[in-house]
Amino acid sequence: MEFERMVREAAVTSSSLLLESYGQHNIGIRLQREGGLHLQVNGPSGQRLGCMGMPGTTILCKGPTSDDVGYLNIGAEITVLGDATNGACNAMANGKVYIGGSIGSRGLTMTKWNPEYDKPQLWVLGSTGDSFAEFNCGGIAVVCGVNPKNPDNILGYRPCVGMVGGLIYFRGPIDDSYPRTNARLDQPNDQQWQWLVENMPVYLGKIGRADLFSTLTRRDEWRILATVTPQERALMFSGPMPMAEFRNQFWNKAFGGGDPLRDLAPGLDRSVIETIVTGDLRRRQPYWANSEAAAPCTFYCPIHIPTVERLRLIREGRIDEAYEMLLRYTPLPASVCGAVCPNLCMENCSRRGVDGPIEIQILGRAVGNFPAPTPAESLGKKVAVIGGGPAGMNVAWQLALAGVEAHIFEKDGRIGGKLAQVIPWERLSQAIWDVEIKRFLAMPNIKVHLNVDMDKEQFAGLERDYDYVVIAVGAHEPRRIPFPGHERVITALDFLKKAKSETPMAVGREVVVIGAGNVGCDVACEAYRLGAEKVTLIDIQKPLAFGKEKEAAEAHGAVFRWPVVTKEVTPIGVVTDSGELIPAQTTIISIGDVPALPFLPETIETMSVGGAAWITTDQAHVTSNARILAVGDVEKPGLATNALGAGKTAAEYIIADIKGEKWQPFTKPLIPHKALTITHYFPGDSGPTESDQADRCLSCASCRDCHLCETICPTGAISRREIEPGGSDRLLARQKTFEYVSDDNKCIACGFCADTCPCGIWTMNAF
């Protein structure tokens, strides 16, 4: 403090001071004199020589100096003839520092540049220590490399870290440890070189080494480290090498110049693809599965009548074809589809999801008067059909249409089986029935033999004389229960047969029907027709009656009671196991019928269920004898439609067998309801005509050619294509007059076609 006070006082009176120092710090701190001030420091200098030096002040240190020479200098010119230690020019903003030797570490750090003033300068004759010019902001440094402390590296380790401004001239080798994101190595340009050459004599003069001028002005020995601007830095990759370059230059070569998986998976393509893709890169693919699944009406119909196709033909105005097609499935459309069938097609109709099912009965009845299709050319074979009920009739009908002679052997005096014998005329109008029977009997290839009571001998004859024998005798043996008084009980079969004949049985005022199924309901209705006043249907379980039969019985006033177990039947009624008497003058039992098969050879396999024998058949209705088939109730009890369906299947098997073709069962899967888009249809009133029903059809599983898929497809991949009709199957040929196709190169597998298709044709398959 004393030394500083002395210097400050002396500077007031003199512009040139000679200081004999002994290592004092802060010599020349903030000293200034109008007209200039010159300090010469002769003795050892301490830290921060020329600290906060002012413009106009010059300091000459004859020897070396310690740390932080020119610290926060804002204008003084400081010359040190010897070396300077660490921190030279720390935070210097203006002025010049000339070093006649080398400097220590962290020189020229934190310099500033105020644009109102010149940039600060640091001249070093030798070399710098490590961490030179960190955070350099304005400082210009010239490092001459003369007698450097480290001849291999005159700028020390890691210079210019965080440098944001200024410029470093240097002459001599460096270790390239400067950060590339802060500094750029270059040659001085003309302007920079001119500045160096112009200022070099001043520096050399200050340190008394003018002799070095020619040595230090060989341009090719000088290089610069220039500041990288933030703008330039932003353009540089944050790492030192672009990844593509690394891949090409190093990565690929490390694996012998190819994909590292080429041995494990030859030809594996791992190249990058888009997220939305077409062609083989899709994970799903649309498929136009027209008619590959079955509509519920077709699927659940035992005859598998393609109602959807029929309605399509009607929509297209091809009424005759629609009618003919139906007759190719059943000889009794009006009687069965139109009347007695519980219509499983309607039960499962998809249209129920919109309003109500297609009214199939309208369609069935419409075909009543339509002429039979023309049979095909004769195949020269004949088949015996035992039993002329619905099963046997359809066997004969199908065979006849295909050109096979069919001989029906019927036990009764008329054909039609139970349809003719027991179904009340109330449910099956005689007018309709007679027309259809007439049409049936007119079929050229059908021969009917009535009142044939088949026995084993005759059967053997049929087996010998015919190519195939089909057993379709139904179940005409009523089941009974041996409770006391069972002899007083009339069987439903006998009752109904009589009821439909000219000589119906008399019934009492009160009637009990044991067994409350649909046949029981028919019995009840007929009993009312024949004069009964009260009919009670009893059952040991919840009655199985359903649909039209049950409704009809209930309409008459029939009472259903369950669970009721019959203990005894007396002349005054039915006594239950609880002791109750249900009054009845007539008791009828309706618990089903079983087959009567006295003619059946023992070689035909049967299965005993419920005390009766039923003929065992395979899927094609073939028995254990390959030439003998069995259809209808002799296999298992079913609906009239089941019998018709079995008959058609058996006939198809025989026809295929005759032709030497492989028989194909019906295997189409049911179209899932979810596949349809029923919301395209609006609920509405159902009209009475066929064409009203045709319009309502959802066309499940069969393309209705509505173009919605083509319209919704966002990439225009779907188009409709006309194709030439072909193939021998007329139906198939008609169906395939067009198709919709999806262009793999446009399709992105969004699934909109499948989501839109009203008929469930388009499906998305994984691939």
Binding site: F246, P260, R270, I276, R283
Partner: protein, 546 residues
Amino acid sequence: MVSTRSVSVAPGSLTPNDFPWIIEHREDRCTLCGNCTSVCPKEAIRLAYRRQRLPRLDILSTKRGSEYRTFTGIRQETAIANACIGCGMCAMVCPNEAIMPAPNTNEHRTLFFNNQKGEPQKRGGRRNVSGPNLLDRIVFNRISMLTDPALDAGRHEFNLTTTLGRILPPEDFLDRIQHGGWIPPTREIFPFVIGSMSFGALSPNMWLGLLQGVAYCNEVLGIPVVMCTGEGGCPPWVLRSPYLKYIVLQIASGYFGWDEIIRAIPEMQCDPAAIEIKYGQGAKPGDGGLLMWHKVSKLIARLRGVPESVDLPSPPVHQTLYSIEESVMKMVQTMSTAFGHKVPVYPKISASTSAKAVLNNLVRNPYAAGLLIDGIDGGTGAAYNISMDATGNPIASCVRECYLDLVAQGRQNEIPIFAAGGVGKNGNIAQNGMALIMLGASGVHVGKYIMQAAAGCLGNEKGRCNVCNLGICPKGITSQNPKLYRRLDPDLVADRVAEVFMAIRTEVKKIMAPLGRSQSLPVGMSDAIGIADRDAADLLKINYVC
């Protein structure tokens, strides 16, 4: 007439509102381009047609009836198999911001129906517990002010490597040097290791993209990152490449791909970084690896030496090893010998209350190069949800107890503990890692964070995505279907790996500089951390601060 057909309702019937993610679709913005349904990995959405009834309700008119209109919208499926996973790919490809999955803020009933056909839910991801974890709450609070020289993270040079391998006590070391004894191999590696994700769990583009990034970190950036193979083997060309030195080869109870490794040993250009013997995994302790059949492609089957399209469960334990002593004797020594005692060999275990017993055994075994402990928040490609969510031990206290046990024995500088399981779970990768290091870990293994940061993995701890097990990863990270994994550009993965490790490096410096550390990692420097949780502070023996 409107259908009154009843809709059947089963116990498992669900509505969109019952699902964890609800598709929000704006019909007014939708252009019906099909991108969303095309990209959806679960076929969870479809184009739906809806019918609206417009009854005539004019009281003065005698005409009655209804009109109808049809409109379209994108709707979600309500079958469990097609449940929306919230991945948001639909939103990513939508040109009009018309669609996105929104998290269901109500309870979602699919929780009760994830067990279809008697099989409990399996998934990928990690423990579905979101929010800050313990590591996130640790602060670095010993700042060098005027007490000691502060360091500048940007300017100073740091030595950020850690030692993988056994360090001999000085007297032993000198003794062996003098007498030509065996010096256990060590590696100086970056303390953030890419944890074991197998070639199979990851797609080829992801796995090779990671390795390319690791190679770039080492060769271009000078960050000595290593990655672990997982138990799916290693492609033969990679085994014979110079990059093997950046790879930790894992052997686990499935032993997949080890025939190729053994076959390649004579032709290796360099030694692998280390051998990791997996005994357990934090995500599913007590379970072995599981690669479900969806992902066992021809390529994976070839590399692993198994049939195509079969489930590949690894046993929970190595089949013929019954004790830790036996494990160490058999496997650590065998592996060490196979590589000429030049490669560090260490076991990986699930974090457990029994971890200290394992560690103490390893301390006594001169061949053991370290111990990797994997905590409950670790991720996996496939596991039962119950294993992931409820089984395991958090990593922090487990590592801490193990480290303090070593300290008590004066052996903390001899055998490194590596920690894993939830590091970077909430994005705080460097913070989590350095907290574990200061608790005593020598380094950390990171898997899920790398998938998220390097490849854009969409999974999170709110049940988002998490379908790694099914091989339908919409980003192509964990799929073996080229139609999916070709979406992933290995160059971009490698770029992100480089960016991630550059950033971790800087953040680690930012944490170390104020501590006044630059030349060695602050392993076990627990006086430098604190937590505003008295119980945690007591258990971890660190400062309680508030």
